[in-house]
């Protein structure tokens, strides 16, 4: 195995940006196929209304809000890795953070579509924004849904700015490694960066501040998403545990998604094997174990509080979840989120790449189901037994969900070919610099 040097890090990353081959093209066709079906289903739904989804009374939130929370959760790991792990100087961060940040941006872009899709009449989405108008219809600042509008839009802005800021030195590197038109194109976003002491000084200070600002944002955004539920007076939702429970769940699912995309990336570009080391993936696996235990604890506390509070509606709901009509989803969720991640305690499993990949897929499925169970069961089983209902998703929701994966992976596949998917400058920082006097 070659020793990593400043020069060969550049070469490996530049090689990953060569024109795409057949596997990339085939994958892209499948991705665009999925996306097209999603767009088609959405178009049908816009034409005919939400009757084409399974949303009904009383289950007014369904797969779309599940997907919204799921994708926001996925988006959390990127900022956690790029900001929180930067502040604590976690050694496994450097090789994986760029792709994780890209994942964050694309996941939040995907999540942002779902409130619009769920709205039905998408063209009224601008009513969410507080702007002076003559309709006398005003946004309600007491509503957590409006807080969410601010939280998500801030998160999108900060994630994108953080992502772009981190890219500047690496785009300058790609510019210097390129010729002709490619060089000219990369010189624009590189913003004349040439690695001078003045540029690094202000860049590094700004980057540190970004990390410090983004850290509380990671926790605040998913807390606010959780309040969309927790501030409703509904059994299974109205709980003070929701904010930490959702944040842990978001980090849990995000870390799993990082493994889901980093492992194929590492395989697709052989040069990355020396950069994305097994111990980096193992670090993510440890984070998954940690957050899985928090999530498991939160599940247990929910049931205990339902029993201990003596609130009969709460008890009824928490009986309905494991033994009601959605019990299959519930037990699959428990298996994926609480039992399967425990296998990562075994070092042989958490350092085995195929096993890590499979476990990460299970966690992704489990975390999607968690949101589905939270949304579906509580709305179906509220305070009034005569108003209880049920929910069954329809084909439009299935295709829009699949289409959302197409949308996410389309951006990611484009990203790996046009931008450096490994943070070049930060990887160089981890190496011993070239020294004449090596003592």
């Amino acid at each position: 195995m070659n020793q990593l040097t400043y020069g060969n890090i550049n070469d490996k990353v530049v090689n990953s940006m060569e024109p795409p081959g057949k596997p990339w093209m085939v994958s892209m066709v499948l991705i665009l196929g999925a996306l097209s079906m999603g767009v088609f289903a959405w178009a049908i739904q816009i034409r005919h209304g939400l009757e084409w989804s399974g949303i009904n009374h009383p289950v007014a939130w369904g797969v779309y809000i599940t997907n919204f929370v799921f994708w926001i959760g996925i988006g959390h790991a990127g900022t956690l890795i790029s900001a929180v792990l930067y502040l604590v100087r976690a050694p496994f961060r450097n090789s994986i953070y760029r792709a994780s940040e890209a994942m964050t941006v694309f996941a939040v872009m995907t999540a942002g579509l779902f409130p619009l899709i769920h709205l039905g009449r998408t063209w009224y989405a601008y009513w969410l924004l507080p702007y002076p108008n003559q309709r006398e219809l005003w946004v309600n600042f007491k509503s957590p849904l409006l807080w969410d509008v601010f939280a998500i839009s801030t998160y999108v802005s900060v994630s994108m700015a953080f992502f772009v800021l981190g890219l500047i030195p690496d785009l300058a590197t790609i510019r210097d490694e390129s010729k002709g038109l490619k060089r000219m194109l990369y010189s624009i976003p590189a913003l004349c960066f040439r690695g001078t002491n003045h540029q690094w000084l202000h860049y590094m200070r700004g980057y540190l501040i970004f990390a410090a600002i983004a850290t509380p944002l990671v926790f605040s955004v998913h807390s606010i998403v959780s309040w969309d539920f927790a501030m409703s007076s509904l059994p299974g939702w109205h709980s003070t545990i929701f904010a930490p429970y959702f944040v842990a769940g978001a980090i849990f699912s995000g870390c799993a998604m990082v493994l889901t995309i980093m492992i194929p990336l590492r395989r697709a570009f052989p040069g990355f094997k020396e950069i994305i080391k097994i111990k980096d993936l193992e670090g993510m696996a440890k984070l998954i174990i940690f957050t899985s235990l928090i999530v498991t604890y939160a599940y247990a506390v929910e049931f205990f509080i339902a029993y201990y509070s003596g609130a009969k509606y709460e008890r009824a709901l928490f009986w309905f979840r494991p033994f009601g009509e959605m019990q299959g989803f519930f037990w699959l969720m428990i298996t994926c989120n609480c039992i399967i991640p425990l296998t990562l305690f075994v070092k042989k499993i958490r350092t085995n790449i195929p096993a890590l990949f499979v476990i990460s897929l299970f966690v992704n499925v489990g975390m999607w189901l968690e949101r589905y169970v939270i949304v579906g069961t509580s709305l179906a089983h509220g305070f009034s037994p005569f108003a209880w209902g049920s929910y069954q998703f329809e084909w439009a929701e299935i295709w829009i969900t699949i289409g959302s994966f197409g949308w996410f992976f389309m951006w990611f596949f484009i990203f790996v070919k046009v931008m450096p998917s490994i943070a070049i400058a930060e990887m160089k920082e981890t190496l011993t610099p070239p020294l004449r006097n090596k003592k």
Binding site: N10, V139, T154, A161, G195, H202, G206, L435
Partner: protein
């Protein structure tokens, strides 16, 4: 008005970081302060050799945070009082309602101010420390790969002295411009 000052001085490239730092220290000791260095990644050794300069970018962040916070409080207060929406006996305006949005807007505005401050500071420093204008310097493409560089602005009478210092510290190549 010229955005770049005319450059007179020398620039050199180095293979090793310790040679670069030693050259910077000697140049500083000799009284040459208009130094610009190039490194493929941020290195604290260079900062130490340059005398640990500090960045004022955080002031921009602070100003942005205050503006964002004030904007949030203003928007919510004004709108809540102008368009009163009674919701199940809750107060029309209360602190808990303001906190999430005030936090989010403080963060949002502060990051834009941080970016603005970074760009401004880099532009000011680059203007204060002129760099060579030659095509050879502009087209040198190994600074972001694996080479370290030093550009020193000085009067024509000091060129020889600087050249000697750079060569003494094993510079790969030294270029003089006046």
């Amino acid at each position: 008005m010229r955005l770049r000052k005319k450059f007179s001085g020398a620039w050199a490239t180095f293979e090793y970081l310790d040679d670069t730092c030693a050259a910077i220290k000697e140049l500083k000791n000799e009284g040459f302060d208009l130094i610009t260095t190039h490194t493929p990644c941020p290195r604290h050794e260079i900062d130490h050799a340059l005398g640990d300069p500090q960045s004022r970018v955080p002031f921009g962040t602070l100003v942005g945070a205050f503006i964002g916070f004030s904007l949030a409080v203003l928007i919510i207060t004004k709108m809540a009082l102008y368009w009163i929406i009674p919701v199940s006996g809750k107060p029309i305006l209360s602190v808990p309602n303001i906190v999430p949005i005030a936090f989010e807007l403080s963060v949002l505005v502060s990051i834009y101010f941080t970016i603005g401050a970074m760009l401004l500071m880099v532009m000011i420093d680059t203007w204060k420390h002129p760099v060579p204008q030659s095509r050879k310097y502009k087209n040198y493409d190994r600074f972001m790969r694996d080479r370290f560089g030093i550009a020193v602005a000085c009067g024509g009478q000091d060129l020889e002295k600087i050249e000697n210092i750079l060569k003494k510290h094993q510079a790969e190549e030294v270029n003089l411009e006046s």
